[in-house]
């Protein structure tokens, strides 16, 4: 990098320093530009790859599964769904009301009050 060093002077000089020349500055700057841009692109492309895997794992595959589930059970489950709606709502309400009454009773330590019922 340098040929000789003049230690006796107040400032250390060397004769053949390459960066002082315009051509060398271009070479040095150009190499930093290329390596720097390549690094930035490489790192961000790696992140792209990760995000592509994200998409596959958390979006594409679950979506496919969901579609399959949706398509397949429609024929078989449909009658069951109808059956589910059939049971007597009154019976269910009675069970829930009993549970609440139990919870509200003096023996229970719970302190809450049912304000309203909402059909979901």
């Amino acid at each position: 990098m340098f040929d000789s060093i003049d230690i006796s002077s107040s400032i250390i000089n060397f004769e053949s320093f390459e960066l002082g020349q315009l051509g060398s500055a271009f070479l040095y700057g150009g190499s930093v530009l290329l390596i720097g841009m390549a690094t930035v692109f490489a790192v961000l492309c790696l992140l792209w790859l990760c995000l592509a895997i994200f998409k596959l794992c958390f979006h594409t595959i679950p979506e496919r599964k969901a579609k399959k589930k949706k398509v397949a059970p429609v024929v078989q489950v449909a009658p069951k769904v109808v059956e589910v709606k059939k049971p007597d709502d009154g019976e269910i309400i009675a069970v829930i009301a009993a549970a609440i009454a139990m919870a509200e009773s003096e023996d229970s330590g719970m302190k809450f009050r049912v304000v309203s019922f909402k059909r979901i």
């Binding site: 990098m1 400032i11 000089n13 930093v32 690094t39 692109f41 961000l44 992140l47």
Partner: protein
Amino acid sequence: MSAIKDFLGTTGIAQMFSADSDTKLWQYLAMYVIIGALFYLAIVKKFEPLLLMPIAFGMLLANLPGAELIHLEFFFDEYYFAVENGQITGTLALQVRDFIYNFLGYEEFFTLTNDSFAVNMDAVISAYNASGYQITAADINDLFQTYVSGAYLDAEGIIHIKMSTVIQEVINNGGLVDILYLGVKLGVYPSLIFMGVGAMTDFSPLIANPKSLLMGAGAQFGVFVAFMLALFLGFTPTEAGAIGIIGGADGPTAILVTKELAPHLLGAIAIAAYSYMALIPIIQPPFMKLLTTDKERKIKMTNLRSVSKTEKILFPIIVTGIVCLIIPDAAPLVGFLMLGNLLNVSGVADRLSKTAQNELINIITIFLGISVGATANAANFLRLETLFIIGLGLLAFVISTCGGLVVGKIMCKLTGGKINPLIGSAGVSAVPMAARVSQDMGRRYDPSNFLLMHAMGPNVAGVIGSAVAAGVFLSFLR
């Protein structure tokens, strides 16, 4: 009568007119004009007021003769060592040269390059061992410290300034702004600001459309081109790196890189970086228009997919792992950016997230603005190199904008016109201003076009990209 005379002699006005003062009257007046312009931009034009206003006020404090709120000599002059164009400079230069002359002597015992100096510890140890003297790296360091006070040699023979020396000086003799400036000197503020930015940033558009990352990468082109141009203009590589990073359009990143590579340019670079970020709506549109066709500007992009909470949580963890393992120097920025984001998206640390994105970032912004502004006193701001920095910063910014647009244009062609290249200009980090400019530009040509969410992808990719570019500079040039 003499008491009154003495009192009048101590006033700032008397010092301003004093012939003995290092700073001349015209320099003070020029600085007040610049400060006035910054106040105008911040308060009247509302350009980045949260930062420009504290910066401008910090500049005002630094340019009040006699106030002495900041002592830059504690940070730059008193214990300063550097190698510039192959020459050892700084206040420690003479002591280092004594050490070389008296102890090292031979060329093979040390390495002096264009911008670095290091003692070849192995060579020195071998030579002394061969002569029958058993010495270690610690012994060489001890000897070094007898020659050079306030600095030390590490195991690889590289000189470091003792931070404890600077801190001690600040505590004993420093003022309020000196203490605030320690946050910059130690690199605390940029990382904490990044944590707040991370907590406020929604990375969903990027996760949903990872192609945006390419536009964020393309928009770092100006950073490296400006670095090259700065070398041509005679700046040292470390100074050139600090100037180039202005093109990343990211204030904290620019400050972190500058305080590491060229602390004496901090004031000019911080002011240039924040001014250009504020001027994005003025700087970018002409180039967006120049590099895109009417048809391209009207492209409507399809809706982004929904992003699950799991993806949002995994993203900051994975980005931190990947980026920091490849470029460890980017860790103070990327690490804290992602920590802030994780606090937010995890949903289990709301208090911390709210603190990071409100109180903490606001406090740090005030401290950072004042202390950075205070570094811009007339003596080190009114120089030709400041004009070069401002010019190169603008160029870096423009080239980065064009880089993002060109990548956007290429992606538009490759996807058969599915990507509107206007979102490419948002790759220049400044969140969310650059994305808003893309949105406004798109709506100007088609009022029913909504590009904001699409532009947020390259925009947040630009934040990561500029942090990576900063890491590249720090690992190459430090």
